[in-house]
Symmetry: C5
């Protein structure tokens, strides 16, 4: 059984009635890339951090400084919280993270939007978005924003599925946006589309995605480089880098 | 040791003297397909849900809305309960699920019929049904319905075996119908046969299986598509979809 | 750490001074086959069952009816108890089963004979029997019955080794008969030899092994069939049948 | 969950305001080799030992005498502590080791420098050093010593990442020096460079690395020998030596 | 976490000031073979047994009779205890065994000699012995007996390393004799050399090793036979015999 994760608030501005947008590492890194862009373009402040004994015992860093791996950013105009992580959430930790978000963060937001990548069967499918909601209001909001509901029945797994299931049982309005994307490498193109076609109409904000397009191309270049390093790593010691460069 | 599963009742109609029909995912999806058809054709209402910390932390959905993964449906004419799941029950959870069915649901039904697929050795064997019972009455009922008893000795595993063993030790009349089916892909043909040749005479109801035949053909088509996706998934990241399309 | 196994007595006849003969599934199925024949030919009654949370959560059946997987049979003339199982005892459960036999069953028998198959190096070795005893009396009994003692030193593993070790530490007279048998498929020929050459003189009873010879040939035929099914199973879903046909 | 590690102090000299330099076994053995040289050249005394039930149950030795596997050395001029281990710290133990360093050793030092090897993509990259700090002061110290800050974002894993993360959360000033080195065999060349280019200006001491160059060549020779033994080990019994010769 | 092992004393003669000689199964079986010879040639009596829930649940036997797997033998002239086992000590049990030896047996001996095989790189290295000690006295005793100290630094693993580490922390004088031996098959030649060149001068006793030479040749023959059986086992059911013939 996993231990508890805890949210530590590092600012004191109020964000009630905010929309929580989740951008945790997953298929195609599409959620990470899209939400990182939202955080940067809206110039959100760090709102707090989530910590758990279950998370990998690693040190995340940016620009030469150590930082917490799992962070929440926020702003009031528009009223938005974002959830980001420098490391993939291990399967054993998704339960404690989900319970933490519902228990400790729920007062800070009134609805949650989760992002999940799904493998595109073809290039033309990339960027297609369908939604699944937990409530009548959010179902109407999805439809009103021009987002198709997912056909038929199915299941959503990973950390997104756990967060969605936890919100559903806690009666927190939540929706997941499933974006078709390249399953093999980070896909900033799909990230850009989910922002423009789904997040902007649904949350009602504007995000400059020209910067994303450039960042996407830069990431594409880095990832090609990483893929080559990955091959060398695996030939060397069998360890896999985790999406961002891993030292030691 | 697994934690407990709990049944939460979501309606208040009475179903005493009902027959519980189990349709959990398993070999050939034959139980799932057959019982889904029974639930739909008899227009059963959702009777309750079963939840456990042991179940996979995923969000199930249908037609764009999140729902509980493991559900019980019921009706009074005929008096039938069905047990269905959008996700395969993991081996670690079959014990807690079985104890939950016997402890929390036993007052709602007077006998249980479990369905299990067994691999057919040839096309001509598909749809052959044999039964195993826990009591004299159900053995007589099987024979009276024209269902052959299983020859020789053996064991029944999986979630069906665990449910049958739990009922046997709790003195709840129960029988399993073992249906020969295609072990590799969903087999609505076998599902249709077990309804017509075994469930209808045994439970004494009528279910329109023409719809099932069409649905079966549709599922066959979808599954061929899924098999192709499966291959792409596995080449991509090693994860396996679980019988229904899996996003994230 | 394993949980406890418990013996539940289902009859009330007395069997003091009885010999317990163990016939649990193992190499070559030789113990199972031999003891099944003893139980049938001596027309023993079911004496009780052994149950444990550790045992596989499966439903065993015979002739269309569910039964307990691990059963004890007994009779008074000759005074014999037999221990049989429809499923292999998993390694994690051999400890609790052994402690249960010594704690709960010890009053019902005065000595125990365990059967174990060992791989024959050649056809001519098949049926060779050597014995190992825990006490002077049983060592004399082995020798008196014309059974050679095992040469040199070694160890006996599996459920038989655990039972023998438990009896040794509990000062219960016990012996193991190690029978050379075909390690790849069930070997009723070795089973027949261990009955005629070892069990009959040691326990002082008569068992008709002509029926065993026929049954052996029938099992041989079924096992060839099972081997073919096994291959199909493994190509299909990776699950292995466990010696008897496994549905679901 | 891991048990606790404990620090036992074996001397009584004071080392306040010291710099702790970590040299635990890792990629390229670069941290081990560099810090071993620092300990030897500065003629540091053994300051204490760290012990945990989680550490591998092995006996470390040097020159025919058993010693503790994980040792802390120290001196007052310059004020330096070093942390060394004869065995790689297993992943399950990095948490308890990190907590021990922060809880039991923190009074003995005022800042910590961790060393980590990163695989060099080419020969010309070997010896390149970048730094990551937890505080403004240490960031300035890195820059002042001519050490580049790590570009972009990423994560640092292994025992170094765990120690850095623990210091970060305990507000202990800490920095990691990431050294590009040969990922396949011990790299004393990279160890020499990190001493001369980073440790000497950062900690303000002088260490004779001519001895290291010779030692490096000796280790290179021994490691080639070990690699041959490794191959023989693996063909023999599947066990792997752990960087130093392993008997039994 | 492992459970406790307990020593049960089966005789009442006193052995204070004795030397404990460990001969547990390990690389090349060299410790087992050498110490078995010491026990037999000195005609030591069984002194007690060590039992643990962690040890494999198997029944050991010799000459047709069950015996405890882990046994201590002893004598007073010379004052010697030997520690032997019919089964390899599993990695999970080395901790509890080591603690048992130090806690329950320490009053019966004043110093411990452990034997460990190390793979010889060539035929000419076979029988080379080096020593590692925990105290000044034993280091002097090693040197006085003409035994070289191990060069450089390293680690000693397995049950021998755990015993040595436990003695070191309990301040019990102990030494390990590392013998180069054939890593692939039992090596009675190395066992004979470690007796004549190291144990005899160190413990000051005489052991007839002519018998060992013959026994060695006999074991060589048996092991060639076992190797053939091993191959057949593995083709049959994937189980490995553990150095002595394994039935069931």
């Amino acid at each position: 059984m996993s231990t508890d994760a805890t949210f530590e608030r590092t600012t004191n501005f109020e964000t009630d009635a905010a929309t929580l947008i989740e951008g945790l590492p997953g298929l195609g890194m599409v959620a990470s890339i899209a939400v990182d862009q939202v955080t940067n373009q809206l110039a959100l402040d760090q709102y707090g951090t989530i910590h758990s004994e279950d998370f990998p015992p690693v040190a995340a860093f940016a620009d030469g400084r150590v930082r917490d791996s799992v962070r929440v950013y926020g702003g009031t105009d528009p009223a938005v919280l974002t959830l980001q992580s420098d490391v993939p959430i291990p399967p054993d930790s998704v339960g404690s993270l989900s319970r933490c978000v519902v228990a400790d963060l729920a007062e800070s937001f009134e609805r949650a939007i989760f992002l999940a990548g799904a493998p595109a069967d073809s290039e033309s499918e990339v960027g297609d978005v369908v939604g699944v909601a937990t409530s009548d209001d959010l179902e109407a909001a999805l439809t009103g924003a021009g987002i198709s509901l997912a056909d038929g029945s199915g299941v959503i797994g990973g950390v997104t599925g756990a967060l969605l299931d936890e919100c559903y049982h806690a009666d927190i309005p939540a929706a997941v946006l499933v974006v078709r994307s390249n399953p093999y490498i980070p896909d900033p193109g799909a990230a850009r589309t989910v922002i423009e076609d789904a997040l902007e109409p649904l949350v009602d904000f504007e995000v400059d995605t020209e910067a994303l397009r450039e960042q996407a191309e830069e990431i594409q270049r880095q990832k090609r480089q990483l893929a080559e390093q990955l091959q060398q790593y695996q030939q060397g010691d069998g360890r896999k880098p985790t999406g961002t460069p891993m030292y030691q």
